[in-house]
Symmetry: C2
Amino acid sequence: MELVKGFAATSQDDYQLNIINIFRHGARNSARQEIASQTPAGMLRQSYAQSFERVNRLANALKSLGVQPGDRVGVMDWNSYRHFECYFALPGMGAVLLLLNLRLATPDLAYVINHAKAKVIIVDQTLAPFIEAAAPLLETVEGYVIIGDGEFSAVRTKLAPAHGYEELLAAAAPEYDWPHLDERSAAAACYTTGTTGRPKGVFYSHRCVYLHTMAVAMNSQASDQDCFLQLVPMFHALGWGGVYYAVMVGAKIVFPGMYNLERLDLLAKLMIDEGVTMGAGAPALLMPMLEYIRGLEQKPDLGRTRFFCGASEPPLAMMKGFHDLCGLDIMHAYGATETTPLASANRLKPWLADALSDDEKWDLRRKQGLVINGLDVKLLGMNGEPLPFDGKSAGEICLRGPWITGRYHDAPGSEAQFTPDGYWRSGDVGTIDQEGYLKVTDRLKDVIKTGGEWISSVDMENAIMSFAPALEAAVVGVKHPKWEERPLALVILRPEFKGQVSADDVRAHLSKSFAKWQLPDQVLFVDQIPKTSVGKISKKDLRQAYQDIYMK
Amino acid sequence: MELVKGFAATSQDDYQLNIINIFRHGARNSARQEIASQTPAGMLRQSYAQSFERVNRLANALKSLGVQPGDRVGVMDWNSYRHFECYFALPGMGAVLLLLNLRLATPDLAYVINHAKAKVIIVDQTLAPFIEAAAPLLETVEGYVIIGDGEFSAVRTKLAPAHGYEELLAAAAPEYDWPHLDERSAAAACYTTGTTGRPKGVFYSHRCVYLHTMAVAMNSQASDQDCFLQLVPMFHALGWGGVYYAVMVGAKIVFPGMYNLERLDLLAKLMIDEGVTMGAGAPALLMPMLEYIRGLEQKPDLGRTRFFCGASEPPLAMMKGFHDLCGLDIMHAYGATETTPLASANRLKPWLADALSDDEKWDLRRKQGLVINGLDVKLLGMNGEPLPFDGKSAGEICLRGPWITGRYHDAPGSEAQFTPDGYWRSGDVGTIDQEGYLKVTDRLKDVIKTGGEWISSVDMENAIMSFAPALEAAVVGVKHPKWEERPLALVILRPEFKGQVSADDVRAHLSKSFAKWQLPDQVLFVDQIPKTSVGKISKKDLRQAYQDIYMK
């Protein structure tokens, strides 16, 4: 885009958006606000003022280890108050908070640390084995800081040289002279864990994070009357940005610490006990919490509480369940590592609240919602043409704006994920209706490209699943000599229907919602459908297994 | 401040914050939201989509008149939907919206237009006489656009060349190709009307306005469930920014148009009829609205409604009155033309809500509130030394941040209003307590500087007024050969106390709250105290009249 210059303004435009200011100003206005942290020794309660002092000490400590502006520092921790301290101290001193995903395989973890050229790694002692496994592969790390609650000398680690987090803080000065950073400097980095290829680095600038923080605060009407629960793992896309906007508005913050993965339902107890009113999480976290509430004799009143929910579509039953049992509001949201992450959020507009039936409202709430004010969005069709926002035309969702990534760090060949006019291609296919509601319909790589048109594999799977005899279904596009691709359906029948149903029966059922040219050429009845490690249909495997079926 | 560069980020940091995006995105997400405007012909109701089309037409029309990026365009209008259109079209096309105060005397109005070198003036036909009076003095204006509801040919004006606003819009194309503007370009300009010297120009950048807009939206928890009433005259400091944040969150907007200045109380009727939930205004506007509500047999429930209130301190009786009669919440706020204008806003923190008595809460609500997250504040003492935030030390309030002005446009000699480290000196004296609440205690020029210390003239006046025999009081600092200044008090006694009270009686009363060295050397009993045109004590006149009283 060509940049046009206007008349000279008199505003303080050189004053840079720096992440540390969020807490500097938060501590000024909300010094006594509480940060409550679940620890092995019980709930730890600190004030903003106490926490901000620790952030200052941490910066001094890291400086004493040689960390300088521009350096990358890897952090692997639970959702803890020390992780939170890293979220401010590292960007504040001009270093880059490199978030390390504790679920990465060792070679990928080492790849990320080496690729980002991290100088120091901060790791909780319970997670140190992951770093120890990667350590022999690390090329740039000069030292380690071990987070722990006991005496540092009690920690056995193969990492060297290693320092104790608390010992460093105790020895450091309580005030740091924060630099005034160019807002285009990287503040934090997250690596995407795509299904193909190496992880790719997204380096968030201070400007990006600051503007995203204001946008999320605005979109959740957050205030210091709120209490925020950090559910989303803080190594995912800035933990969805929650701690930054919580501090910006002066809200109480709750950290669950190293919670029991077998007892996610107990997170609901924490939520109720601490008076949580806002948060964010994936359905996999929220579902067990709903079950906990379902099991309570006395249901809590959570009518003020709202959670952003994303990563995958929140099941309708879950949204309704929270609403009916305790009044908790699930706001379906959409984003990715590349979008910091909030790109869209669902809310019911006042005129739709009046006009729609209850069922229609729930249908609407299932959409990914309105693209946040501040971001440009377009849907690109098969040939790169922009599609209308009519609720029907499905195209690749492309986003542009201050908190969207513009490239991947040092990743030759990744340029194709951006349009010539600077949009990031999400790889998701969706529609936008006339009210502006975004609906994600498929992954671009799973959509069936046939005769110049797209068919949503997800829509067709859902349609097959609404056929009584079908227990499970998968639909993929398979190469075709004439039509580029043609749909192939795999169906697992319920036991009682085995041998009773034909491919034509399935096609007849599908023809209620699909045009004739869209129907799958072949419908195969199978006993199993391959899945990925997280339980999703492995369409990659299916496409490979059946790659020749239409080529003969 | 030295700027430190960190590691290169991958965010789209070149994407500029442009004001037009607020409406571009607002129209996408809230196309059907309503803009309700009081007009001579009744309520006009437009949708965001309709209004945005008119904004596009206006930009095309102005382009056809030769307006280009960087040009200044003066606008003088009531709080109308066309004024609103100018608020977006002019910044959007890269021109500068020069807000013209209809209360300026002709020479000052001409000075502002000439100083800003405005190319075009847009004026409502009812206000055209003000521009006509100034026209012979104007040096740079090439054309006029007349806003009116009738046919343009029906308007008689001496302004030439003149065009009809509606005729221009009707002839213009409905889509404008908005440029991508450097966010440091000026979007709008306001001239301060200080009591001394010529008006001084503040030119707001796009960046400044955009960040201010997000901050205000966040601080009022605004959403599309809200309805915003534009009470503040739109020629004052961007009308306090209301229309921008209303559009950003997708709220309904209400414009009172050319309302009856003798019947300000009717604004309360408009507020109730349209379901207003947020707005801003000075006490002078809000007081008559409260009287209207007091007169209603059936009091409305305005428990969701909150108004920022500033310019002067909202009387406690008014704040309580709104609260008790209808639940409307008055949020005391502080700012100036130089601060875009929101610098601080009062809200009751949750822990104070629990800890304070009702009286203490109301006392707290009278303070100017918490400096907005995003702004730096300091209090400077007599010798430029920073003072602690202890609720007692009073110093000049100095502000720094993205929406604070860094200089005045083309105003040699005004540099002294800024500190070497880039703070704007407000000219107000105040305290900040340990919770962060700002309290303005005096104007710097009215504060009494004596023996290296400051005495608040306002505090001393209030103390005298709490003395039963006193009807009115004024305190000023008068030059003194030894102590720099010494306080002088003027008191109007209630008729029944005339001749019954001595200067020592007044000093004895004052000594309950002031130290001996702070007491006024002279207390004069007078029949009248000189006032300014807006009814404030004219301390300038008093200082002049009594300049020699301590020099003899």
